[in-house]
Assembly symmetry: C2
């Protein structure tokens, strides 16, 4: 039995106790969260989110890429979110390599060099600020008035604020 099969057993249990059939499409709290994909960072646990509350956007690093701008543009323009919460975290894998090394290693292994940056970063706080800067610089995000950036500490469970637009 694969791990996915185990997860599907959990999904059957979730469905059997399901009582959230009438949630509307737009997020009830009007918030979009952008967080790292890291396994130790559970945005539902940390922020106390329930089904229906918030959009949750995640990738390697929690960095603001073109795809995050796409998702935030859809979130704000079509589904009415207004506040943005960015979460990086301590001990992030993105601190352990450089883009040059990653792209060269992929080229060495596969013969093809990625056309995209891996988005590794050497400084957590600076990358949170960079992520806010990318949103602020984008013409596609209508509401930039409530963007707040945090670093989650995987050793203590604490969420520490780095920067905010208001």
């Amino acid at each position: 039995m694969s791990v996915t099969d185990e997860l599907l057993e959990n999904a059957r249990r979730y469905a059997s106790g399901f009582d959230k059939a009438d949630l509307p499409l737009p997020p009830g709290k009007g918030v979009a969260v952008v967080a790292c994909m890291d396994a130790r960072l559970n945005p539902y646990g940390v922020l106390g989110l329930s089904e229906g509350d918030a959009h949750v956007i995640r990738n390697a690093g929690g960095v603001v890429t073109a795809d995050v701008i796409r998702s935030l543009a859809i979130s704000q323009r079509l589904l009415g979110t207004r506040e943005i919460v960015l979460i990086h975290h301590t001990d992030c894998g993105m601190l352990t390599f450089t883009d040059d090394d990653f792209r060269a290693q992929v080229e060495a292994d596969t013969g093809v060099r990625p056309e995209w940056a891996a988005e590794a970063f050497p400084d957590l706080d600076a990358d949170v600020r960079q992520s806010i800067a990318r949103i602020t610089a984008s013409p596609f995000i209508p509401d930039k008035s409530a963007i707040r950036g945090f670093v989650y500490d995987v050793k203590t469970g604490e969420l520490n604020e780095v920067s905010r637009t208001r």
Copy 2:
């Protein structure tokens, strides 16, 4: 008080009861989940995931974009995940518009036409298959042997399988 301030109150409670200080960086279950950002879809609840279990990658639609390939490449190459679970869902916002309309509307409102596709889609099952096809076609994902694609039903809480690579 903003909604974010409310979420920060929850974060303080989470930290005060925190007992997960010793989780390793690589996901314990060796799985990466790619899901839509939709507020009603809670991958932790549905799949029974806990802190430390799995990478969770999310964007508008749960579609496989270049940024998802980046995240999956890092997940597999640097952090050892091997199984991939894709989750789209019923009543998705991406079913309600077209890329042409979205990009034209953004251009009309801001003067700038996005250089990216919005990734809207008219058919859920077909887009799950398309997402699997994009992973299968990528040279940057080392292990494509265990990719499974699902549609989550927001009315019943059920996870229904669409396609799998094994």
